[in-house]
Amino acid sequence: MDANTAYLTQNTPENVHTVEHPLSGGKTLEEILSNIEMTIIEEKEEHLIIDLVGIEAPIANALRRIMLSEVPTMAIEDINLWQNTSVIPDEVLAHRIGLIPIDADPRLFKFKHPNEEHSSENCICFKLHAVCRRLEDGSIVGDKVMSGDLQWQPFPNQQERFGHFKPVHDDIIIAKLGPGQEIEAELFCEKGIGATHTKWSPVCTASYRLAPKITLKKEIAGENAINLKNKCPMGVFDVKKGKAVVKNPRNCTSCRECIREDDSMVSLAKVKDHFIFTIETTGALSPRDIFREAIKELRDKAAFWLDKINIYKRTPKS
């Protein structure tokens, strides 16, 4: 059994934990660092897939956790609700509005302290005024309040400095109105992190999976090979020259269908230091930026603790 491989057997995953210290195998820190590889597999506006090879699970996980909860964004925090005659109660409406992702680079803003006033430095202000009317011809206008109805109210010189702010999507339904109903509100965005409230999380989700390592335990040929190929719903296997081959191991979703009845043919495993990250952004930051910010944050944390440790080492023991 390879220490760097976790095996998926019929009943349970095996060898999932890494007990050894990364430096215990006689490797030096430099060796480890030089072995780290990063490849961008796919990059789109809304998501990013990266391969990270050669790091330990705690490091990869720290990055994931930071992306989820510690990379700041801007989100609506305070609402002055002047009028709400819709069917949605005030607090539910406020909650819905709070969850709308705002297209604003949080790096341009400062955190607002509880006692601080809203200002151009720490706040983006929107206005929402939606009225539903029945026109003379009987048609109804304004029955849907959308995120696109939010109107930016720039603070002095905000426009010149930052350009334009708006919600990421214009088509999120906030509320539905009946004729005569009205919502009027003033919304204030603040900078915050996902640990405080999920609305500040920059990602829909950021997660990773371990790279699958699929091997054939023996030569599979003929009907068995075709069966194996058909068994896998993700098309991992193929038949070449009458023999089964592993064609697309990355497609594997660990459904274990190939070892469901007979585990003597295929070995399903995971490479424990090969992480395939998927980062899906809510839209405020590009996924690449989120990843970069996460690394920055991790570095800051490390520096912080390094500092603490150094101070501790310097203080004489009593």
């Binding site: 976790a6 998926l8 009943n11 349970t12 995953p13 999932v16 934990h17 890494t18 699970a57 705690p58 990869a60 996980n61 720290a62 994931r64 956790r65 989820l68 909860s69 609700l81 069917v87 109660p89 005030d90 607090e91 539910v92 909650h95 969850l99 996902g194 640990a195 409230h197 999920t198 609305k199 999380s201 989700t205 950021a206 997660s207 990773y208 999976r209 371990l210 719903p233 993700m234 979703t253 660990s254 459904c255 274990r256 269908e257 469901r260 995971k270 424990k272 998927t278 899906e280």
Partner: protein
């Protein structure tokens, strides 16, 4: 093919319920009352006229009675009214009762039509309700929810349900064995006029008749003789001439001759001497006349007896005696008391009918009293002649009905009957709890009696009563719920049926002497328990009657039953029987064919057409015994007569929510039935327009991923109560033991389990007898940032003195700044009063948490001229300790709320909303929950709802296949990564969506702690209970622990110093309690010492003294 047609035939159920609604039984019975029964009551000979004892010329005759549409009279203007207006304004949803009368005024006959005699509460949805047959749009205009079940009343703004009452059937002979091992045949006779119980019982080898009006048991032979059957031979003929009957009756006849009673007169004299509370002396009648009267009117009062023609009664008594002898010889002939065919359900219509008749009788007797008073005085010639209309008290009937429905106390004077708890406030906790209440059956049995018979599930209840939905604990099995398709019959006229029976060859019993009734090969025919006659060809009669019923010529709810072993045919058309529809099978073929179903889907026919065309028929519990019913198409054999429409209809609407209930351990389904009613959700489309005292709502309620057919039929998919939570079944952190669940913080922040608590507080400006009234006052002006609390509590008020909508209020904040006049007695003009003549009496906010004022209602009704209702809404995200439950009786509290990044995640990035500990499964055996998860998970990938209908539903194997197609394991177990360590989780985790309900038990409503707080006035001990900010009791068992441990000082501290310590003055010389260093007994202050004791102890001494016991305190220093 059979599979396909089977699925198609299921469409009948929605069609059935669409036509019927879920509470048709209530509405039908009330319709019958309003249209038929009320007219019968008024036209019955004992009610239809009022005469005077003093003026023979006078009469008042009721010619007709009607109930109009609901309305209200305000300031002499009558306007129609909607149910919702009644709810908001605390009004009664009632309609005027109008009568047409004819009476004597002076010496003229006067006819008056449309005279109002009172207001009748109107059941929502009945034929006199404005909501009847209204479209969804029209209902919306009346602010009514289209899915509201209706069938309840609104009395003073409160929704009241008259629960279905279960009773043993009336006017039927029931044979039982009593505690002394005697055979007892009893009949509870019930007519509009009288209720009585007649018992024929064996005692040793003799047979007696027992009745409440008689002080002793009467030998049966004497009863026969008193009824005019003087010859012994005739008695034998009436009971039976076979050996066993002659043997059994011998002793009874002998007893009769020993007493030397041989003639009718002697027998009547004997009975006359045994009558309790004999009025013979008063009325001047002889005992013989009195006895004859009792026999004619009281004994077996439901058997008709005109002009002392006792023949019908004799026959009936003969049957009773025969049943007793049969049961003496064969214990199998004893009836089963819990058999559901012997039960009748009483509904709102019947109950209100009984009450109305009672009130109407009282109304008439009040008129008679008044009239007699007028006519008993010498006639004064001057002035208008007396008009009887002035003697009518409209309030009597109105208030009598309103009070009975709002308190639930049904007191019927004429039957001397008092019944409590007939009505209940309609529970609006959730849509399901309201529905569950409307289909609930209350049993008359006492809850305290520890008997299992009436509580256990009876075979005859199959399909009629839900086997799962009953409460746990004391009322287990006594409170039941109707199954989905059960219909309760209403009374049908007997005449038509009896005529039909006679023309089908029934030979009238009154033509026989008795012996012919029992000749072999002849079937005795009964109509509603009364002997009608005999028929020689039972099958002909039964088949023809059924054929006629299927043709729709007689009511579809008439039941015809052949009892082979007793040679009897029972025809029933009385009300309160349980029936349900079946598909008719003839020659192994279902009469419902695919083409019919096709027409149904096209809307060309409805369920009634199926009944009218004889494709589907209703069977009651008794007739089910004559039928061979196939559960499914494939079970049809040669003998099959009927086919179940769908097996899932044996469950009620609440149990119908459970997916795959047939895979669960049965108590789990029962638990879910109790919990489904506590789940928060949407209670109706008009929920934000209602002003209930408390309303629990769920902010983002979802329709379940795994549905059942019942869910769609009862519209639970439109008014759901719960969330489709992503669940991972694994252990996590140790905060998930004992069924606790782990919640994802991100999920709760995105709206999972977020509930709204809508509360209402009333405040009314009263008007007092002296013409003064309460007034609203402008609040004091608040200056500065930190005003004192006495001023700050006014912060939420508007200038008018009422709280501003949208403001946040906290405990103690004033909602309505009201002032009451000090002088409420003397006549003073309002304008002359100064501010000093008023004292503040503001209404304060009571809730514990800061809450937003959402709405204000200002209304008036006849009792309250100025009613202010404040509605506040509080939003609560789930917190530690809130209770959640799946649909399988698996409840648990939130044990830990975890950040999303700490949650495990799968390869797709999915992470659970909730983690449930796997230890919940092995002992509970809720396999249905496992299947729900797999089915739900596969449904997610298909983008389709899955079905977990009872005894059907999507198969696990199919769901597993869908999972595999989408790259998941077929068992639903995924590879997960740990959120904290980042490594793989060392097991495959069973994960997917499960429907979770948030239950009403929330920590915010329960948490409580206290250091120093209020004390009760009497004992000076801390108050009790959370509502009074009470202390936490150190009880007897806790005290025992401390005693056992020897912690004396701690006990003293807990029980005295921290509770009601009191320094008493005690006189050392006399041992009495003193006061302020003075002993009143010794008239001295010399020997007074101070003693610490609990105040309760001092109180005890004083109370003892008050009853002349002197506790003496002997003091000594330690």
């Amino acid at each position: 093919m059979s599979q396909n047609s089977h699925q198609e035939q299921n469409l009948l159920i929605p069609a059935f319920l669409q036509l019927r609604g879920l509470v048709k039984q209530h509405i039908d019975s009330y319709d019958y009352f309003l249209t038929t029964d009320i007219k019968q009551i008024v036209s019955s000979p004992s009610n239809c006229c009022v005469l005077s004892d003093y003026n023979p010329d006078f009469y008042l005759k009721y010619k007709d009675i009607r109930v109009l549409m609901p309305s209200i009279e305000e300031d002499a203007v009558i306007s129609s009214i909607t149910p919702h207006e009644c709810r908001l304004r605390d009004l009664t949803y009632a309609a005027p009762i109008e009568v047409d009368i004819e009476y004597i005024k002076g010496n003229k006959i006067i006819c008056r039509s449309g005279l109002e005699i009172g207001m009748m509460p109107i059941m929502l949805g009945c034929c006199n309700c404005v909501l009847r047959n209204k479209s969804e749009e029209e209902l919306a205009k009346m602010l009514e929810c289209p899915y509201d079940p209706r069938g309840y009343f609104i009395i003073k703004g409160v929704e009241k349900v008259i629960l279905i009452q279960e009773q043993a059937s009336k006017n039927r002979i029931i044979v039982e064995i009593d505690s002394k091992n005697n055979v007892v045949a009893q009949v509870t006779s019930s007519t509009h006029e009288k209720k009585s119980r007649t018992v024929v019982q064996s005692k040793g080898s003799k047979i007696y008749m027992k009745h409440n009006t008689l002080s002793e048991d009467i030998p049966i032979a004497i009863v026969f003789k008193a009824l005019g059957v003087q010859a012994d031979q005739e008695i034998f003929q009436l009971v039976g001439t076979q050996k066993q009957y002659i043997d059994a009756l011998g002793m009874s006849l002998q007893e009769c001759s020993i007493l030397n009673i041989l003639t009718e007169k002697q027998a009547l004299r004997f009975i006359g001497s045994k009558i309790k509370n004999s009025k013979a002396a008063k009325t001047g009648r002889t005992k013989i006349e009195e006895a004859r009267d009792v026999l004619a009117t009281v004994v077996l009062s439901h058997v008709p007896c005109e002009n002392y023609d006792f023949r019908a009664k004799i026959r009936y008594l003969g049957i009773m005696v025969r049943k007793v002898i049969d049961a003496m010889n064969d214990p199998k002939k004893v009836d089963d008391r819990d058999y559901y065919g012997n039960k009748r359900l009483e509904l709102a219509g019947q109950l209100v009918g009984l009450l109305f008749e009672d009130l109407f009788k009282r109304f008439n007797s009040d008129i008679k009293k008044h009239v007699d008073k007028i006519f008993s005085k010498p006639k004064s010639s001057k002035g208008e002649p007396f008009d009887v209309i002035t003697a009518m008290n409209k309030k009597m009937i109105t208030e009598g009905l309103n009070n009975a429905i709002s308190t639930g106390n049904w007191s019927l004077k004429r039957f001397k009957m008092e019944r409590a708890g007939v009505t209940e406030v309609l529970s609006r906790l959730s849509y399901m709890s309201a529905l569950g209440m409307m289909t609930r059956i209350n049993s008359q049995f006492e809850k305290t009696r520890k008997i299992s018979g009436p509580r256990s599930l009876q075979g005859s209840q199959f399909g009629m009563i839900c086997p799962s939905d009953t409460p746990e604990g004391e009322s287990c099995g006594l409170v039941k719920t109707l199954a989905l398709t059960t219909h309760i019959t209403i009374d049908q006229p007997e005449e038509q049926i009896s005529k039909l029976a006679f023309s089908l060859g029934v030979e009238d019993a009154s033509l026989f002497s008795g012996d012919e009734l029992y000749s072999p090969g002849v079937f005795r025919v009964f109509l509603n328990g009364q002997p009608l006659g005999v028929h020689r060809d039972a099958d002909f009669l039964i088949n023809s009657l059924r054929e006629i019923r299927r043709k729709g010529k007689i009511s579809e709810f008439v039941s015809v039953v052949k009892v082979e072993e007793e040679q009897q045919i029972h025809i029933a058309c009385d009300g309160g029987r349980l029936t349900r529809p079946f598909i008719i099978i003839e020659k192994c073929k279902s009469k419902v064919e695919p083409k019919h179903i096709k027409e149904l889907t096209l809307g060309l026919r409805n369920f009634d057409d199926f009944v009218n065309e004889g494709l589907v028929e209703y069977l009651d519990v008794n007739e089910e015994n004559n039928a061979v019913i196939a559960m499914r198409h494939e079970n049809i054999s040669e003998d099959t007569t009927h086919l179940e429409i769908d097996p899932f209809t044996i469950l009620g609407c609440v149990a119908g929510l459970i997916p795959y209930p047939h895979h669960n351990q049965s108590p789990r389904n029962t638990y879910q039935c109790a919990m489904g009613k506590q789940a928060l959700g949407i209670i109706g489309y008009n929920q934000f327009l209602r002003v209930d005292t408390v309303l629990y709502l769920l902010a983002y309620s979802q329709t379940p991923m795994v549905r059942t057919k019942t869910i769609e039929i009862v519209n639970y998919d439109k008014l759901p109560a719960g969330h489709n939570a992503s669940v991972a079944v694994m252990s996590y952190s140790g905060y998930d033991i004992e069924d606790a669940i782990i919640l994802n913080k991100a999920s709760s922040e995105r709206g999972f389990g977020r509930s709204l608590i809508v509360k209402r507080q009333n405040s009314d400006l009263r008007r007092y007898n002296n013409g003064l009234s309460d007034r609203l006052v402008m609040p004091p002006v608040i200056h500065g940032d930190n005003p004192p609390p006495s001023i700050k509590k006014f912060h939420a008020l508007d200038k008018g003195g009422i709280v501003a909508v949208g403001s946040i209020v906290q405990t103690g904040d004033v909602l309505v700044n009201k002032e009451t006049p000090v002088n409420k007695v003397d006549d003073i003009e309002m304008s002359k009063l100064t501010d000093n003549d008023f004292k503040p009496s503001f209404t304060c906010f009571k809730g514990p948490n800061p809450t937003q004022v959402n709405r204000l209602f200002i209304a008036c009704n006849p009792e309250e001229p100025f009613l202010i209702k404040t509605v506040t809404i509080e939003t609560r995200p789930p917190e530690l300790g809130d209770k959640f439950s799946s649909r399988h009786g698996q409840k648990g509290v939130v044990g830990l709320i975890v950040q999303q990044e700490d949650m495990p995640f799968n390869e797709q990035g999915w992470c659970p909303d909730m983690i449930m500990n796997p230890h919940g499964f092995p002992s509970r055996m809720t396999v249905g929950k496992l299947i729900e998860l797999v089915a739900g998970k596969s449904g997610v990938f298909q983008g389709k709802f899955k079905y977990g209908t009872a005894f059907a539903g999507d198969k696990v194997i199919d769901c597993g296949e869908i999972l595999v197609k989408n790259g998941f394991n077929y068992t639903g177990k995924d590879v997960l990564m740990c959120g904290t360590s980042g490594e793989l989780v060392g097991a495959y985790i069973f994960s997917g969506p499960l429907y979770y309900q948030k239950l009403k038990h929330m920590v915010a409503d329960k948490m409580h702690a206290r250091a120093i707080g209020p004390k009760t006035a009497l004992t000076r001990q801390p108050t009790e209970g959370r509502a009074r900010e009470g202390g936490l009791r150190l009880g007897e068992m806790e005290r025992d622990c401390l005693i056992g441990y020897g912690a004396a000082s701690l006990i003293q501290e807990r029980l005295m110093y921290s509770s009601d310590v009191f320094i008493a003055s005690v006189c050392e010389s006399c041992g009495n309690l003193g006061y302020e260093q003075w002993c009143q007994f010794c008239k001295s202050r010399l020997n007074i010492v101070k003693v610490k004791m609990p105040y309760a102890c001092k109180l005890l001494f004083q109370e003892l003294q008050a009853m002349n016991i002197r506790p003496k305190l002997n003091l000594s220093s330690s």
